[in-house]
Structures are given as structure tokens and as C-alpha cells.
Point group: C2
Chain length 335, copies 2
DNA sequence: CTGAAAGCGCTTACAG
DNA sequence: CTGAAAGCGCTTACAG
């Protein structure tokens, strides 16, 4: 057994209350006893039991983050940011992988409640009513990342998806493209699916450019379904010069499938992505894309959560700033 | 305040002992009281406090996994596997990101001890003596993943790095390559650095093929340093037809830099990677590489850890099976 | 400056 | 079948 506070109290010949005081840097003991207690602690290799502490303090110093999928680079970068500031503030982070499964998500929520986590970060998924209710019942601060809600007291950190998409398409337009296709994300995803398509349509409309149903294709943001979607698009007449993809993985899928069909990028077809994950710089040619500051978004979300935990008050949303990162997949068609 | 066991006991007009019994499916209560208690629990929305439980049971149902970097796809895939089996066995997982910083690692170890985690998975890093001592002091089961140690009672899950590298180089050789360069990982990394270079040298020696100092270059497994290393290699005479890279990210770096220099792959230069992360299928041309079953390795490590926790006994190492995944970056030079 | 005692929310002998 | 009581390892009034 590891030594407990009782053991050091006995050894130092003081009460456990005194040991607790020096442990927590409170007042109420002489320099002499402090020295003695500290020495005994060192000798015995004593470390406080955070579980016992948590029971009294009602703080576990533990946060949880819920992802639909932990193994894509989007999640990985966000997680990196979260973990970084959590650690800086002496908090641990539990990761949950829902696999987009509602039951599983609810199950996680219950476990997190039982484990008394101090706060939850909910990422990249629509906040269902059932989740919201469970979260309400937990009485724990929640912040959203790369998603949003109209429910009160739940701040979010995200980019303006519609605007970012608008800017991406606008970038293509200012480079002379007038016939632009799109690979959207999950069709009825109200957060990352719909708004990005809206931004696309808006940009076309504002420039009086044609919009065609056959130019749009949908996938689930990932590479594999992106390949399928691209094959599907290539089934139709290729009367566009550029494609806007609602994620980098899908953009890369476009590049891969294009290569298979002998379509050169950007010579025959321009591509612009969305996310700016590391992958975007690793492909050849490197992908022009919309940058989302993922690591920073993770950091900001975690900071928000921490201040909500500390103050007990709700915090404002923040719209993270996106930008276009110019690389080599968009050709300039202007003369 | 959320209701406690006391609240339901009062409401159901039984003792807390009885509530605890039905909660834990023990024996010792009538069907009648069971029904009543369960109903009250439901009405009040009562959920047990895992912290209080943990204090008594000395089990927190929480595991920790320590990575040098959580945001690369290697870690992401391993984490995915770990989280999956942990969740299946009702355990949560805390992630720690050491950034390869020894002090920070030791700090994590202390936190994990205070938090009374039931077990630790230590990934992709050499187990320093100082870590080992801290781990010993915690008296908690540990399993290693993608790394190894000669310390007792610490099983590992990994591929045979030397053999896997040997096989990669042998693959190049059987495809007619006789002058083969290598981009190694961190030079004095005893786990993933040295053995992979040894496998490379051994394969050359066994086939009486030339080995040259100038053909070897080192990076840190990641893309960025891989680019630098490739630039450095291109500074020297290009009298080889293939390169073996000790990670997929470095292989992709080779491809990127090669493209910049107008070197065609696999026409002018063949490349074989190591890991088989998702990235390998996403690049153009898709990367031929050594497959490590990362998700499965995460799963196996987690299962090992769980059985060590349950039985209190050490478990055997497992050498995960690697294989060569043939894609499009190695040209066949045989006539 | 210091300690005895109550209590956090549970589980588990023990007694009936 | 059921409850009173001790105890897990701490913190925190309270009293001195």
C-alpha cells in the first residue's frame, strides 16, 4: 500500500489536519512543523489521493472531450490543443469516441457523469436534444467545438462555415473559374454540411455564375467516401474547371481519383479544400485550402471550459478566423 | 445537487446498504424492495458517484495512455484501438501528450498516480529509468506499445522492427533494386531508430549489395524533418534507385521533395515507407509500405493491460505481424 | 499554532 | 431479508 495522510501524520507526530494544511499551502502551522512534515512526505514518497480529494472538493480536475472519431487528423489536432491547455491548468482529459453512435454517446455521458468530470468539450457533432438533456442533468459546463447550438449556456468555438466556403469559392472565381463543382459533406448535417453548400451557392449567385445540381456530390468528409463521390461526379459531364471540397480529406480523394483517370491537377482541374490539416501540405501538388486554426480552436475551447468551471458563468462564443492558404492546386485562368 | 444514495434510501424507506445492494446486483433483498428501489432511482434520476466508489474499491475504471505526440496519425490510430476496447470494458482513457519532454512525462506520471488510474499504456517512447522507477512506485500495471524494455513485468506489443525493415529492403531487392538509400528515424533511438537501420544493412549484406554511408540520412519520423533530410540527401550523388523510409510521413516527404526537384516516382526513384497509416493510401501515387496493424496493436495493448489489472499477473509480450502493402511507388527493375 | 471530529458518497463485514 | 456502523483518504469548520 502507498502511504496515506495518516501514515505521514503518525510519522511526523502531528495530526492529519496539519499535514493537510501544509499539503495545501494553507496557514496555521509553524515553520518547524512544516519542515518536519515536508521531510516525512519526501521520505515516505507520499502522494495525495486525488480521488479522496475529489470526493470532498467536488472537483476531479478532469475534463472530457467527445469526438465522433478520434483517429482522423482533424480530431487529432483539436485534441492536441485541448490537452495542451488542460495540462497547463493541471487538468486531465478523458477522450471519448462516439463513432457517430447516439446510444454510445449517451452511454459516455452517463459514465462521465458518474466519474464527476468537471466539464465537457463536445466536438464536430450536432448536439442532439437527448444529449442536451443528459448534459443538463449533469449540471456541468459544456463547450462546443466546430459545431454550434441555439441552446442557452453552451458556447462554441468555430469558424463561420458559410463565410469560409464563400471565400473558398470566391477565391476560385477571382482566379478565373466560372464553372465550379462541389463535394459537400454529410448532406443534412446542419453544421458542416448545409452551411458550406450555402456558402458555395451564395458565391456563385453573387457573381451571376451558373449553379447546377449535377455539379454537387456528397460524401462524409472522409477520404474513402470522397473517392466514391468523385467517381460518381466523373460519371457526369466534366464541364467545370474547379471543385470545392468541404474537407481536405475529400479534396485529396478528388486528387487521387483524378490521377487515376489521367486528369491533371491543377492543369485540367483545380481543387480547393477545407480544414488545412497537415495532410494538405503533404500531398503533391500541395493543396490550396481554407485554413481552420484547429489546434488553437482546441486551446480556446479548453480555456473557455476552464473559465466556466472556475466562475460558474457562461462565456461568449468565439468565431475563429479562417483564411485561404494558397498552394498549388488552383490554376489561374485569368488572362 | 444531484441525489445521493442517501436521498434514494430515504425516499424508498430503506437503508443505504440495501440501495447499494440492488445497485450492485448483490443478493439480500426481496423482489418487492428491489422494485421499489429501482423505481425511486429512476424517478430521482439517481446515478452513483464513481469517485466515492473508487475510493473504496481502489479501482477507478480509468486507464491512461502516454504518447510523445497525440496529433500524428500513428498515435491517432493506436489511440482509436485503445479507446475502443477500454470502452467495451467500461473503462475510460486519459490521454497524455509528453511532447518528448522528460520532465513533463514525470509530471504526468505523478498526476496519474494521484488520480489512481488502474493502468498505463506507454507508447512509442523509450522507457527511461526514471520513468520506470516512477511506474514502480505507483504499483500499477504498465504495457508498452511500439517500444520495448528489458525491465521485468512490463509486456509490450510491437512489430519486429529489424525484421520488418529487412523485409522492406528485401522487397526492393527482389524488384531488382541494387543501390538502395535509407531515411532513418531518430539516430540513436534504440527502438525505432537503430533496429530499422540494422534491418536495412542486414538485407544489403545478405544480398552482397553495396552499403554506403552517404546513402543514409536521418530525420525524426515526421514530415517536416523528412523534407529537410531529403534535401540533404539530394545534395549528394543520386546513384541509388530506391529509398527505404522508416516512416510513412518521411516517405511522403521524400515524394514531395522529389516532385519539387522533378524526380518522378516511381519512374526515377522508388520509395517504400513504414507504418501504413491512412496517409499512405491518400498520396499520389499511393505508397508501398510496411504495414503495422496500429489499431489492433492499440486493442491488444489495452486487452493486455485489462487482464493484468484483473489478474494481477504479468502477461506475455506480443510481436504484431507486419506485412508489405504493395501500391505504386516501387518500380520493378527486373527484366 | 494545533487537533478532534464531522463529513464527502459510497461498500462491506457484522449482527439480527 | 435488512440495517447500523465502520471505513476508504481526504478537507474543513470548530474549539482551544
Amino acid at each position: 500500500m502507498n502511504p496515506t495522510i495518516k501514515d505521514v501524520a503518525r510519522q511526523a507526530q502531528v495530526s492529519i489536519a496539519t499535514v493537510s494544511r501544509v499539503l495545501n499551502n494553507l496557514t496555521g502551522y509553524s515553520e518547524e512543523t512544516k519542515v518536519k512534515v515536508l521531510q516525512v512526505i519526501k521520505e515516505m514518497g507520499y502522494q495525495p489521493n486525488a480521488i479522496a480529494r475529489g470526493l470532498i472538493n467536488k472537483r476531479t480536475q478532469t475534463l472530457a472531450v467527445i469526438f465522433p472519431c478520434v483517429s482522423n487528423s482533424f480530431s487529432a489536432e483539436v485534441l492536441h490543443g485541448i490537452e495542451e491547455v488542460a495540462h497547463r491548468h493541471q487538468h486531465s482529459v478523458i477522450v471519448c469516441n462516439t463513432s457517430d453512435d447516439g446510444k454510445r454517446t449517451l452511454n459516455y455521458l452517463q459514465v462521465l457523469r458518474e466519474k464527476q468530470v468537471d466539464g465537457i468539450i463536445f466536438a464536430s457533432e450536432v448536439l442532439q436534444d437527448s444529449y442536451y438533456e443528459a448534459l443538463q442533468a449533469m449540471k456541468v459546463p459544456v463547450v462546443l467545438i466546430a459545431t454550434e447550438t441555439d441552446k442557452p449556456h453552451i458556447p462554441y468555438v468555430k469558424v463561420n462555415d458559410k463565410q469560409a466556403s464563400y471565400d473558398a469559392v470566391n477565391y476560385l472565381i477571382t482566379h478565373g473559374h466560372r464553372h465550379i463543382a462541389m463535394m459537400g459533406g454529410t448532406k443534412d448535417d446542419l453544421v458542416a454540411g448545409v452551411p458550406r453548400v450555402e456558402g458555395y451557392k451564395q458565391a456563385l449567385a453573387d457573381h451571376h455564375l451558373p449553379y447546377r445540381e449535377e455539379w454537387i456530390v456528397h460524401a462524409d468528409f472522409q477520404f474513402d467516401s470522397g473517392c466514391t463521390a468523385m467517381e460518381q461526379l466523373l460519371t457526369r459531364p466534366r464541364d467545370y474547371t474547379a471543385i470545392f471540397a468541404a474537407s481536405d480529406e475529400m479534396a485529396v480523394a478528388i486528387m487521387t481519383v483524378a490521377a487515376k483517370h489521367g486528369i491533371r491537377i491543377p492543369g485540367d482541374l483545380s481543387v480547393i479544400g477545407y480544414d488545412n490539416v497537415k495532410l494538405a501540405e503533404m500531398v503533391v501538388p500541395p493543396l490550396t485550402t481554407v485554413h481552420q486554426p484547429l489546434v488553437e480552436m482546441g486551446e480556446m475551447a479548453c480555456e473557455k471550459l476552464l473559465t466556466m468551471i472556475q466562475t460558474g458563468e457562461t462565456v461568449d462564443n468565439t468565431i475563429a478566423l479562417h483564411s485561404i492558404v494558397e498552394r498549388k492546386t488552383v490554376s489561374d485562368l485569368r488572362d
